[in-house]
């Protein structure tokens, strides 16, 4: 599904190198988790994959179902099936949450040559998906993310994901700042979307999310690359012992 090969990325305006030879393959239908200390480059990787400005790819490639992503506009990547649940969802004053969702969904359908959903069909669909995430009508009418609590913002990201039905979902610290109930809603939302033809890349600091969303593969990332890859037990080990040993094995220290 997603294949990142030897990806090197620096900031466009500075000499700072953030990704230093990142390699990662997420197979179709699988859930991969990435854990790693703050500043490892996890968010940068998800932004670069989604096409945000401000980064320069100096080497390497990233493909989605065989298609090179890095040449595409962000909207083309989304239409190709990539979705990023933002670590910090953006507020858009004055734009109703539903208007936003409908515009996005219809834009993607148009690219894929499908008919736009009528207002009625859309409304039915969004109500159904919102209900499962305990998002009420009021929240659907409010401007996108404006005045939302941290938990509401994250649930809203999952709602967008549920509506857009992407092939490859990247969740960037969707669990941070969530209480136990919100964590359950979010994980249930993600689990409901798990399917043999959809893949997930779950970025998190905490094992507790992985108790709900069971990963097939766990990666440890630091200093702009994947240091170690293993099964779910790797997450448990990190939970217990921290990153120090893994970092040390690669000549890195926690403070970095």
């Amino acid at each position: 599904m997603l294949e990142i090969k030897n990806l090197h990325v620096k900031l466009e305006d500075e000499d700072k190198v953030i990704l230093k030879g990142m390699n990662l393959t997420v197979e179709t239908g699988k859930v991969h988790a990435i854990m790693g200390p703050n500043g490892s480059g996890k968010s940068t990787m998800s932004y670069v994959l989604s096409g945000r400005d401000g980064y320069e790819v100096t080497e390497g490639s990233a493909t989605l179902q065989g298609q090179e992503l890095l040449d595409l506009d962000p909207e083309a990547r989304a239409a190709a099936g990539l979705f990023l649940a933002f670590q910090y969802p953006v507020e858009i004053p004055g734009v109703g949450n539903m208007t936003f969702l409908r515009t996005a969904l219809n834009a993607q359908r148009k690219v894929r040559g499908e008919d736009e959903l009528s207002a009625g069909e859309f409304l039915k669909l969004v109500r159904e998906k919102a209900k499962a995430l305990k998002i009420d009508a009021e929240m659907l009418k409010r401007p996108v993310n404006v005045g939302f609590s941290g938990g509401e913002k994250k649930r809203n990201e999952i709602l967008q994901m549920a509506m857009l039905e992407p092939k490859m979902c990247i969740l960037d610290e969707t669990d941070s700042g969530l209480d136990v109930d919100a964590m359950r809603l979010v994980s249930d939302g993600v689990n409901a979307l798990r399917s043999p033809d959809r893949s997930f890349l779950v970025i998190t600091h905490y094992q507790r999310l992985l108790d709900h969303i069971k990963p097939d593969v766990v990666h440890i990332m630091a200093d702009g690359r994947i240091l170690q890859t293993g099964g779910p037990e790797l997450a448990l080990e990190v939970e217990k012992n921290g990153y120090a040993d893994i970092l040390a094995a690669h000549g890195l220290t926690e403070a970095k």
Partner: protein, 505 residues
């Protein structure tokens, strides 16, 4: 921008492709081929007499025009606006142009020249007495309503026809062209014409007083809620011709009317002048809503052509508790010089002004409002959203004046500017005068750039760059869009998107 890079495939003639590209996004740039009758070029006492004669006017009207003309020749163009005004040769344009088929005034809509009817049909304003489908785009609001809207259609210098006249007459509402009103309702016209915008108010209004050729007239009798929305659609078609229309709305005690105005013009290389006057008189407890979607041809991407739009609009809340609300969406014109104002004369009167002004490419807009508080306990509210893109300059100019008698009055002004790109400019020029110590004036202003994170967030969800800009800008304008009647809200939203095409990338 993506559309600029259209591949020219073999076999496709380059000229055709370029022509199509140069059509740009202005949808109304086509022209109606129709035989016209013109007054000789230029303005003079003879021309003023000729216009008056063409309209078959009484002597008092001609006298009124001539007074204005004699004053105008002594006046100078105002130069205080933040506009780079090209020299206008007032003797090199036509002041009167009417389709030959309108020389004999059609007695009903059925007799109107099919070419004219087709023109309005193509503009999306069919001159038929039918329901129109109105509604607001957006999933939260999908209730489309069938509504009736009466239309007065003005083509160059003349009114082509007015719909729903009989139905309105049943309610006692007079809705007709001003030229008819001068003949059929002279007592009302004499009483109110020039009573809000005096004949010699300013350079452009004075010119208009001398040579206005047509426009709309509305009278709503006491205690009457006008049974449908009224609208005037202005179309400039003829080349080298100015349009000088005059609108007079009188809303008698306890009455209510909502009035819409729309305007378009063909795409041409040479600029054209439009100098209009709108006067609104609102009596005790009456209320008027006046909404404009101004979409005159803005000129091309290089700033060639377009309409020079110099408009004087003023409402007089003459008696206690009168209310007025101006809402404008200004997307067109090469130059916009326009300050719809409220004279809050009666006690407890209120005035509101909601404005979206978009300037793209080489457009220049200097627009805003005047809130003149004369009566006690008067209220005013100003919400202005200015959007600048390309090389455009956009100025908000607003006056809030609290006179000594206007005790306990309030004004709230919110003035937001949004910049797209770094070659355009936004300016805010507020004038505030408070001459009593019980009134309060609040002014808030912001200037921001279109936020890259917001655009990226939209694009990451699959929304294309231009649509993302339109979405974010529509969000920025939301307070004003919500003030529009449903008939206009949808059109205004898509117009915001269209007028910003090519502003990113």
């Amino acid at each position: 921008m993506a559309t600029q890079e259209t591949d020219i495939r073999e076999g496709v003639d380059r000229e055709t492709v370029e022509t199509v590209q140069n059509m740009g996004s202005y949808k109304y740039g086509w022209e109606t081929e129709i035989e016209m009758e013109y007054a000789p070029k230029g303005i003079s006492e003879e021309i003023v007499r000729l216009i008056s004669k063409k309209n078959d006017e009484p002597e008092w009207m001609l006298e009124w025009r001539l007074q204005a003309y004699h004053r105008w020749v002594e006046m100078k163009e105002p130069d205080w606006a933040l506009l780079d005004l090209p020299k206008i040769d007032y003797q090199d344009l036509y002041y009167y142009a009417r389709p030959k088929s309108m020389v004999e005034k059609p007695k009903s809509l059925d007799e109107v020249d099919p070419k004219l009817l087709a023109t309005y049909e193509k503009l999306g304003i069919p001159l038929k007495e039918q329901m129109i489908l109105a509604g607001v785009e957006g999933a939260e609001n999908i209730n489309l309503e069938e509504r009736q809207v009466a239309v007065d259609a003005v083509f160059d210098s003349v009114s082509v026809g007015t719909t729903f006249k009989e139905k309105l007459a049943e309610a006692g509402v007079i809705f007709c062209s001003i030229s008819e009103a001068i003949k059929d309702h002279p007592e009302l016209v004499k009483k109110y014409l020039g009573s809000v915008v005096p004949q010699t108010d300013n350079y452009f209004a004075t010119l208009n007083s001398a040579c206005f050729s047509d426009g709309s007239f509305v009278y709503v009798p006491p205690g009457t809620r006008c049974p449908m929305e009224l609208s005037t659609y202005f179309r400039i078609n003829a080349e080298n011709t100015g349009q000088f229309e005059r609108t007079l709305i009188v809303c008698d005690k306890g009455a209510y009317v909502s009035y819409l105005e729309g305007c378009t013009a063909p795409k041409r290389d040479t600029a054209q002048l439009h100098a209009a006057v709108v006067e609104i008189v609102i009596l005790e407890d009456a209320e008027v809503k006046y909404s404009t979607v101004q979409n005159w041809f803005p000129g091309d991407e290089e700033g060639k052509g377009g309409i020079y739009n110099f408009v004087t609009k003023r409402a007089d809340c003459r008696e206690p508790r009168a209310k007025v609300m101006w809402t404008q969406v200004e997307t067109g014109s090469a130059i916009t010089w326009k300050y719809p104002s409220c004279i809050l004369r009666g006690d407890d009167t209120s005035g509101e002004f909601y404005s979206i002004a978009i300037a793209n490419n080489y457009q220049q807009a200097d627009t805003g409002t005047k809130m003149v508080h004369l009566g006690k306990n008067t209220r005013s509210r100003i919400v202005s959203k200015g959007i600048s893109a390309g090389q455009a300059q956009n100025t908000y100019r607003g006056l809030v004046s609290m006179h000594p008698r206007a005790k306990n009055s309030r004004n709230y002004t919110q003035c937001d500017s949004l910049l797209i790109g770094d070659k355009c400019g936004a300016h805010t020029v507020p004038y505030i005068e408070v001459k009593n110590n019980s009134s309060r004036v609040e002014h808030e202003a912001t200037t921001s750039k279109v936020d890259d994170d917001q655009l990226f967030y939209c694009r990451a969800r699959g929304v294309g760059e231009e649509e993302a800009v339109a979405l974010v800008v529509n969000g920025f304008c939301r307070d004003v869009l919500q003030a529009l009647p449903m008939e206009f809200a949808m059109e205004a939203q898509s117009l915001v998107a269209i007028s910003l095409e090519g502003s990113v990338g």
